[in-house]
Amino acid sequence: MAWVTQTLSSSLGRKVIMSLTGLFLSSFLIVHMAGNLQLFKGDNGRAFNEYTYFMTHNPVIITVSYLLYTSILAHALMAWVLTRHNQSSRPVKYAYSRPEANSPWSSRNMGILGTVLLLFIIIHMRTFWYEMHFGSVPMAEYDGKQYKDLYAVVKEAFSQWWYVLLYVISMVAIGFHLAHGFQSGFQSLGIRHTKYTPMIEFVGRYFFALIIPAAFAAMPIYVFLQVHGII
């Protein structure tokens, strides 16, 4: 099995791990966003709570969620390994360098953007995931069935302006991370073709870097405005 470890620890193999985990996380964003759109229903959280019940009880979803946690850890760990290796490849820096003349900002700052995302994921999971699984969430009853009222937790979190701000900043970070990352992930796998690369770039730039972050950012803003009676 030496070839497996050797392949995965080569510079190209490490990027394959980054790519597969990163693209898997990207695909999860779609599911996550679609579900969270229930917040906009204006039914005082019923659809949202039913959706979270489904997400925490469906065996397929539960299995996939373990893959998701593993992906986040593997992605962050590999990011750290790669960034250190890449920095050590230039022990003496240039006195004067103009990288902005040849490459987009996001492509050169994936590590910084990723660090913002990691902090966000930790805070985000502490507030919602941890409370849902191990904390004390109030209960709600629909048609005689008991549900954890995660919507109440969401409302409370998003009624704080600084929490909303944290979300908006993090969504800007994920936008930049994916503006570069989504198409780069395909390149790492060697998927590049005159027919498909423009489509991949389009989807990355508009769907993953713009629409998804905007939809996610709209949620805390909407809840904040609603809780404070502004809308």
Partner: protein, 252 residues
Amino acid sequence: MKINLKVWRQKNNNTEGKLVEYQLDKISPDMSFLEMFDVLNGELTKKGEEIIAFDHDCREGICGSCSMYINGRAHGPQTGATTCQLHMRSFNDGDTIVVEPWRSRAFPVIKDLMVDRTAFDRVIQSGGYVSVNTGSARDANETLIPRSIADEAMDAAQCIGCGACVAACKNASAMLFVAAKVSHMAVLPQGQAESTERAERMVAQMDAEGFGACSFTGACSVECPKSISLDHIARMNREYLGAKLTSTNVQG
């Protein structure tokens, strides 16, 4: 033209270097960047000072030796050109120009602006060849190769091994160079026999030399004097992953 230069001076790889300032008054805008250095070295010689060491050979953009990081960019502000193809008219009268050597763990400084690029030679030695007999010139015409494939191979084969891709990359990665060398043989029939081993060996050697990984910033291709395309990096990734999955080499 008047030019203020800040040039990296370093005695050898064991000593620390620093930027040293020089003023030049009578520079013609038609001089190449290297000719400007010739003038400066002439003046230094007259003053009895040690001249600035820099690599150069063909002075027509084909040998790849004239490595200089000029004003924050590999080979200076012009794209698609080497330092010897850069002319002083690309600068303004009175400009300050900072000149540094390529910076990479795999390219140690020999002296001043000269770096040791034999890491590239070792990558080539590890697999950048074909060991089938391709015959004499007339035999080339017997192997039919469609024009589009020949063009693709020639585009990759244009790489002159200058190292600008490494110099420009934030990770000092040699991906564009290695990809060009893998690619130009991978698309031709003569290169097929060793196709899998080639990618495996060349990538292993690239890693062993201490080059960084690819973040796909695209800086390499922009700064490459031959504008080698990022397509070749994707092809190398395919070749490498295919090789790893299908070759009989179980040791790694």
